[in-house]
């Protein structure tokens, strides 16, 4: 009974989403800068799911919305405009599309509904100590023993891993071939014997990440996605859209909106010195938007996305940091407060500033992306 969103006009669809979020958003924080934990965000996840809005890009017959890229963007815009919290979206955004492309029918039938219902909360197990910037260097190992894969090793920087009950990992299944060629993509229940976690507190003192340890963990042979040793291909496929969207201007645009709110609150909105800086940042956000759009157009056209897409992420992440710097200045002495002033998260300069630290480190550090751009795009010698 899913309505035909494709047939709707953009304006109708926008109104639909806006109305939904305004009426259905539960009593949980808006505009949170930190990631909310499962116990907090779950009601919103379930609302989205019940309304059929959890998985905008999945096909309709699998419980998705089957949205075009353009409509998907409208939906994202409306949710962000309202300040809706980001849910645990590794299942909807990463694993789901992966299973749809590489999974068996049995895997799709088993796992997709459990993502939709919230029964399975997924985490991503890619990074390891020593394999962060260089993912292909994974050492976590899976060995076939009888009907099982036996997994040993460690993952780290697993976002919200403490909330998840399932994790997908890249594991080395052949050490005799070159790095990328011996990696498989495995699905692991986190309550399996031998799985343990240790929280990593972030700069704000919050448990945002964890380490995940695998000590003789056994999963059935069919808990693999795609062929044995073909995990790298699957993992890379996931990164296609991701590489574009990680450079989307929305993080900066919302930081800029918070900055305006803060500046008005602090009586600086009409200060010409402030406005001069604000306008410069705003132009950066708008220009980034125009550049971002050229990549969206490429996605839409099916044009291949080259290494140059990293320009988006480099500029967006540094822009977000520059906005956060000015936010701290406008806050003045309140920039050191641990909690939102007057309970208004949009006034919380420190939260913006702290949230701006990881963006140039994760998802490809700015330094490494610049190396890549210099070599692959500018053709400078190595």
């Amino acid at each position: 009974m899913t309505p035909d969103y494709t047939a709707m006009s953009d304006a109708e669809f926008r109104a639909l989403i806006r109305d939904f979020v305004e009426t259905e958003y539960p009593d949980i924080p808006r505009f949170p800068l930190e990631r909310l934990h499962w116990d907090v965000v779950k009601p919103w996840y379930l609302k989205l799911s019940q309304r059929g809005f959890l998985c905008p890009t999945w096909p309709v017959d699998r419980g998705g919305m089957g949205l075009t890229a353009a409509k998907h963007l409208i939906m994202v815009e409306e949710l962000e405009r309202f300040g809706a919290a980001r849910v645990h979206d590794i299942g909807p955004v990463m694993l789901g599309p992966l299973l749809l492309k590489y999974g068996t029918e049995a895997q799709k039938d088993h796992f997709l509904p459990r993502i939709l219902s919230g029964e399975h909360v997924w985490a991503q197990g890619y990074s390891e100590p020593g394999a962060g910037s260089d993912l292909a260097a994974v050492r976590c190992e899976a060995v076939q023993q009888g009907e099982d894969w036996v997994i040993n090793g460690q993952k780290t920087w697993t976002t919200l891993g403490m909330d998840a009950n399932w994790i997908f990992i890249l594991a080395r299944t052949d050490k005799t071939v070159k790095k990328q060629a011996g990696i498989s993509f495995l699905l692991v229940p986190m309550d399996a014997p031998g799985v343990s976690t240790r929280n990593i507190l972030n700069l704000s003192g919050e448990a945002e990440f964890c380490e995940v340890f695998f000590d003789d963990v056994r999963v059935p042979l069919d808990h693999i996605v795609g062929e044995v040793n073909q995990g790298w291909t699957a993992a890379k496929a996931l990164l296609g859209h991701e590489r574009v969207f990680i450079g989307a201007p929305r993080l900066s645009a919302s930081a800029l909106a918070r900055l305006e709110h803060l500046a008005r609150h602090m009586g600086q909105w009409s200060d010409p010195v402030f406005r001069d800086r604000f306008v410069a940042l705003r132009c950066d956000v708008l220009d980034l938007g125009d550049l971002f759009q050229t990549y969206l157009d490429r996605l839409r056209d099916g044009t291949e996305i080259g290494a140059d897409v990293a320009m988006l992420k480099v500029f967006q992440s540094e822009l977000y940091q520059r906005i956060s710097d000015l936010t701290m200045e406008v806050a003045g002495p309140a920039s050191g407060l641990r909690h939102p002033p007057q309970g208004d998260r949009r006034l919380h300069a420190a939260a913006t500033y702290l949230s701006a630290r990881p963006v140039t480190i994760f998802g490809g550090s700015t330094e490494i992306l610049r190396n890549v751009l210099a070599r692959a795009v500018l053709g400078l010698p190595g």
């Binding site: 132009c283 708008l286 320009m311 070599r375 400078l380």
Partner: protein, 352 residues
């Protein structure tokens, strides 16, 4: 909205760029440009005629008025190419004149037999153009007119309309100053000059279009300066390695590339939005945004290019110097960054 169809612009641009190769040599040679420096107005009237022969000045004249009725996207594509080639002829100014004058566009200017420039700026570094007409005559001052030193005709834009005056008409005085690119910049003094003022309801839009076209020229300039620098970084060795292999220079070059791409995306998207009918507020904001990015990028890229060229970069014989001096000459013509930001800041009130 112009006569350009929604799908035609790519083909149109390609045709325009192909024909403009008669002005901007495909091999990238800057010998002609170098040779024109300091020679009177700093450009070649024969090349003005060449561009006229190609019909470039009719780009923005509506088809109904006998023009090509092309869009801003095509215009920006052309201006970008002219920027790559540092073309000194006042082609953009003549295209602007065509758009302002439409059916009153003099034949000899349209085909390039006469050199025509447009004078519109009331005070330095602004987009104001309303001044200059008093009681049916032209009186007052118009600033920052490149190419006027070699002009035969001047299209003067005022709040009361647009008029064409011969350069030697009574009451017309041009004050010429030499510019760093080897050309001249003029201030036009008008003292009760008789002229036919044609009404010009689209003047505001034409001025903004000219500003965007200016940003496109700065884009081309920046792109070419960057390309020359990349070439140099790949070839020039120090301590036994190409200097382009040094990470610090690589990272700085990456930064320049990003800024150029932002400028390119902003100019192209703004041109497309205007061709497709952007509202006046957005039109003004986005034009200023492109001007801002253009001014900053042209100066940033060209000065970093000099630094990356090392000692060679500060010699007159290196081509990169041509780009620095052109950037210095043009970057702030429609306002220095602080002035543009101040204009944009005024727009915040309403947007908020």
């Amino acid at each position: 909205m112009t006569g350009a169809g929604m799908d035609d612009w790519i083909d149109n641009s390609r045709m325009i760029l192909d024909s403009a190769r008669a002005i901007v040599p495909a091999d990238g040679s800057l010998a002609r440009i170098r040779g024109l420096r300091g020679q009177g107005p700093g450009f070649d009237p024969a090349m003005v005629a060449e561009a006229g022969g190609l019909g470039l000045y009719l780009m923005r004249v509506p088809e109904a008025a006998g023009g090509l009725g092309l869009g801003l996207r095509e215009t920006c594509a052309l201006m970008r190419l002219l920027g790559e080639g540092l073309v000194p002829e006042p082609i953009g100014a003549t295209i602007m004149a065509g758009a302002l004058l439409a059916e009153a566009f003099p034949e000899q200017a349209a085909n390039g037999d006469a050199v025509m420039v447009t004078a519109w700026q009331d005070s330095p570094g602004t987009l104001d153009w309303q001044g200059g007409a008093v009681g049916g005559r032209l009186s007052g001052r118009k600033c920052a007119i490149p190419g006027a030193g070699g002009a035969d005709l001047i299209a003067v834009l005022t709040g009361a309309g647009v008029a064409v005056v011969p350069r030697d008409a009574p009451g017309v005085t041009l004050h010429l100053e030499e510019t760093l690119d080897g050309g001249q910049m003029a201030t036009l003094q008008l003292d009760g000059v008789r002229a036919d003022l044609h009404p010009c309801p689209g003047a505001q839009a034409v001025v903004q279009d000219a500003a965007l076209a200016h940003a496109a020229y700065l884009l081309g300039l920046s792109e070419r300066a960057f390309a020359l620098t990349l070439d140099y970084l790949r070839i020039r060795e120090q301590f036994g390695r190409p200097i382009g292999s040094f990470q610090a220079l690589q990272h700085r070059a990456t930064d320049l590339k990003i800024r150029i791409e932002l400028l390119r995306a902003a100019v192209e998207a703004t041109a497309a939005r205007i061709d497709l009918g952007a509202d006046p507020t957005l039109r003004a904001r986005d034009t200023d945004r492109c001007l801002l990015r253009g001014a900053e990028t042209a100066l940033l890229v060209s000065r970093e290019a000099v630094q990356m060229h090392g000692a060679m970069g500060i010699t007159d014989e290196a081509d990169i110097g041509l780009f620095v001096r052109k950037a210095m000459t043009l970057a702030h013509l429609f306002g220095a960054p602080a002035a543009i930001r101040a204009r944009l800041a005024q727009g915040l009130e309403t947007a908020a």
